[in-house]
Symmetry: none
Subunit: 192 residues, 4 copies
């Protein structure tokens, strides 16, 4: 049952951090939402910082592997880029709390939380550059564009769209439409 409790705390932390922000979040409330006592959180996580970092590191694992699976389902680099874009925004829709954290807190934290450099986040970004490099090698994407820049540019674009979506109370924004447009711009932008 230990696993279950750790998981509960993690999930609760995602929710509270997303709702209140890391600094406004209270350990006590995370514990309450998780259905455990305050002290219990400290049996599973060193401290508040560790809790946040653990979220990034652990919640990213299935996200990365799911994304990898989605990408591999596609044949061409073009379809793979499409897949990344679609699946990323899908994620934003289905796991808004987690998306929120990635968007907002990761930036805060990467600088202020003791020595956290966001290894899993880099891994996620590298999924983009890998697909892009593959496309370049197959002569589909222009070779004058650096994959390192491309991954940031695409992620940044997606991130801004999803931040906007997440922060808008009324979810009237059509993320599918956004996905289309982003894919449209970027593929036109990088195709030979």
């Amino acid at each position: 049952m230990a696993r279950g409790k750790r998981e509960k705390i993690l999930k609760a932390a995602v929710k509270i951090f997303a709702r209140d922000g890391f600094f406004n979040a209270k350990m006590e409330e995370i514990a309450r939402l998780a259905g455990v006592a305050t002290g219990t959180t400290y049996l599973y996580f060193e401290n508040k910082d560790d809790l946040l970092i653990s979220i990034f590191e652990e919640e990213m694992i299935p996200i990365i592997s799911n994304m990898t699976r989605e990408i591999n389902k596609a044949e061409t680099a073009v379809d793979k880029l499409h897949a990344f874009i679609n699946h990323h925004l899908e994620l934003v829709k289905n796991k808004p709390d987690m998306a929120q954290l990635l968007e907002v807190e990761l930036r805060q934290s990467s600088k202020f939380i003791h020595g956290y450099s966001g290894s899993k986040f880099r891994e996620y970004l590298n999924l983009i550059s890998s697909v892009f490099e593959e496309g370049q090698q197959r002569g589909i994407f222009r070779s004058d564009i650096q994959p390192t820049i491309f991954k940031q540019v695409l992620f940044g674009a997606l991130d801004q769209i999803s931040t906007n979506y997440t922060l808008s109370r009324s979810k009237k924004i059509d993320l599918n439409e956004s996905a289309e447009q982003i894919a449209n711009i970027f593929l036109n932008g990088v195709l030979r």
Copy 2:
């Protein structure tokens, strides 16, 4: 010289907020850096939140007007987009503290700081969409792309690049090169 004091506090806050983050920043240290007493900050700003919001609202004014001027120097919508990209990254290089705030803190704040919706930030973003709409009207840019999405996508891309630049201790990243590539991708992506 009240104006001068207010300005000093504002500048100091930009530095401290950028260096420590909004939540870690201490009012006392901002006051010290500004060369005033702690209480003096409260003569010019309601509270810590207001100080941050004032930064956004007031520091954005010259930024927006400068950017507008730069854009207007250019003739075509294409050149104007170029100008925006170049000038934005120039800003990141010259006012890294302010850029840092826009990147990181604005996101935090828009949600957690009492009712701030970032009007000046929206104004800044709208510079992009205005240029884009102009290009569409002149038949230069594709009409199937929504200006509202485009502005976010471009800003997000620039923002991610600059976040990366700001956070990397060793400023080995060539922002001019990045500007080139971004312009390259986006113009190819949206030109008819």
Copy 3:
């Protein structure tokens, strides 16, 4: 082997209390050193206070009986006093943890640990006064000195010497020499 477990906890507590002090000592660490579970300590001792008091009460039993035996080996009151002094400092050398507790924690405790008045400690002190009274009755020691004061004065002297010894990292202090000097001072001080 319940006795064995209780004894192990007691011994572990002596070590940890001596090393960290009563308030800094953690029940969990005592349990770990004793090789039992945390909860087990509560099967043998009411609480942390009781554990400390039990140490005093139970560890003092052999100490008192040994001391009594040593004293009784001697014939004269003078030799008995000598024996007490020597044996006490011997104890400090051989059981530094226990000595530490007597010196430091007992004082704390007598006031702050619920209603503990240190009966065994009084018993130990009374070994001194008994010897002294015996010497007075035999006309060896001056009669104008109150045994109750004498016992405190001698114990205090020994205690200060041993505190000093215990706290000095480098055990360069020669306790035998100290014993000589103390005996010298006190016997000269009280002999008729």
Copy 4:
């Protein structure tokens, strides 16, 4: 008025530490007794540890200088020893809280409070050895007794007597009588 506030906190801390012991003492209560807010204590002292150490270091200053004056009033080494004994026990009577701290907390602290070695306490002890050495040089006290041991032995004796006095609720103990007896024993013990 700052000095006054610092002094108030110091005095309050002496009382509370003496009454409850260092570890049981609550900063909030010290503040309340001092008539200031909790946070105010931290304007004058780094933390709880620093507060305790400051007490030792600062409260000992007048104690040492007063004791020095008392000693210097006496002519002979014998009278000076008498003076030390009397004045020390006088102090115990007049400043029982401070005495309590010296007796109980100093021992605890010297080991557990970060790197505090009790310089002022050593200074106090050295008053004894100085007098004793003077007596040895004048040929009044035996030369086979080490001043370093003597100072501990005398202090330990006094301390035990005063601990006993402090802890006994009903102050029926006559400290003057005790002073007489101690002086009696020690002078007889060390005179040539």
